[in-house]
Amino acid sequence: MSAFDNAAIAPAIGLSEEQAQLIDIAAGFARDKSPVEHVRALLTDANGYDGDTWAEIGELGWLGIGIPENYGGIGLGLGEAVPVVEQMGRYLMATPYVSTLLAAQAILRGGTQAQKEAWLPKLATGTAATLALCEAHADWDLTHITCTATPDGDGLALAGDKYLVTHARQAELILVTVMLDGAPALVMLEADEIGDAHLRAETVIDETRRSYALSLDGLRVAAAAVLDAAQISETLAHIELSASLLLAAEMCGGAHSVIAYTTDYLKTRKQFGKLIGSYQALKHPLVDAHMGYEKARSHLYSAAYLFGRQGESEMAVRMAKAEADEAFAFAADRAIQFHGGFGFTYDCDAQLYRRRAIWCAAMHGDARYHRRKLADLMF
């Protein structure tokens, strides 16, 4: 029997009270902190986000979502972070929020007791962290690792190059995947162990992001910096699904925004004597974009509801990522086209969303990748 046959018959969707409250609070917060003029101003900022805003996110307790209270978190499941990430995505925010949540999930699932006690309370209250997973081969398989950690005295010598490490320069902790004794492993690197020479700022398509190439050659870590080897497979699988869930949330938020942006234009711009929204050639695809967004959002909140439940959540998360990928890409693509002569300029906001959609698709597998994985689960 496949996972599909075993899936529950009852509809798997429901909004918890916490999620409902968080949607409203997060929407107000993001709208306040991140009007599009500010997003554009931050494009040339070294960090790409405001330290004050980041501190406030910590104070609101949102970094404690998914971290148990006994480790300094506020409890709840990662599904409760979905509305927060969705609203942040709606306003194109680009703080280390998602990367820090993911690092915390990795430590929670795969860390030693000492590592959990040392780091989770810090991550829950505003210490930025991130994951260094991508390599030159560009493979989405997190177990495809060529970087290495080799015993060297009482520690480990690292070697190889990581790419697309979001907020590496802004993070105090970076979790890196390496091969150790012929098997995948996660090791912790602290900011003060990495010289500036090991980080190179990258030029990426989504200008709101800050990502870095990390050269591991010459870096050493203590043996205690290795996460629990027995948990590595589960931890990497958990990272992939957690990241996919949160990326889907970010994409749904962005899709909503770009559709609203385009709808406003269609209701005000006149060409050939009529408001362009009256032309079915524009009206109908915009409706298609809206329906794609609604479907993606349903998948998102179903995945958020099921997240963490054995066997069911993987399918829901992969469906959510696949649908959000396509919905956001289509909506942003049509947004450029339907803004006409203004649309393909840098000044039109549509490009901010289209670039973000390409970025999100490139992270942790695009729609086609997730559908292939779904086929394996279903048949």
Binding site: A138, V204, I205, Q337, G341, G343, D366
Partner: protein, 79 residues
């Protein structure tokens, strides 16, 4: 008539789809842009895709092109 009036529509549409498809073949490297050492083919596909809208919009949008072909080739009534 169809080829003369439809060629801007087909070629600009094809160019857009070609570049978009090329982006999807790059795995995580789709995230790069022109100027990064890791960008595949120096980021030409990403830039090509973003620039492709100058052809699907400029010189008469693809939507207008469809009206032109519809009315002048197929003889469909004007809206």
């Amino acid at each position: 008539m169809s080829l003369a009036l439809g060629s801007k529509l087909s070629s600009s549409d094809f160019y857009q789809r070609l570049n978009a498809f090329a982006i999807t073949m790059q795995g995580t490297r789709a995230a790069y842009y022109v100027g990064d050492a890791q960008a595949h083919n120096d980021g030409v596909w990403q830039r090509g895709y973003l620039n492709s809208f100058s052809a699907t919009i400029g010189g008469g949008t693809s939507q207008i092109q469809r009206n032109i072909v519809g009315e002048h080739v197929l003889g469909l009534p004007k809206s």
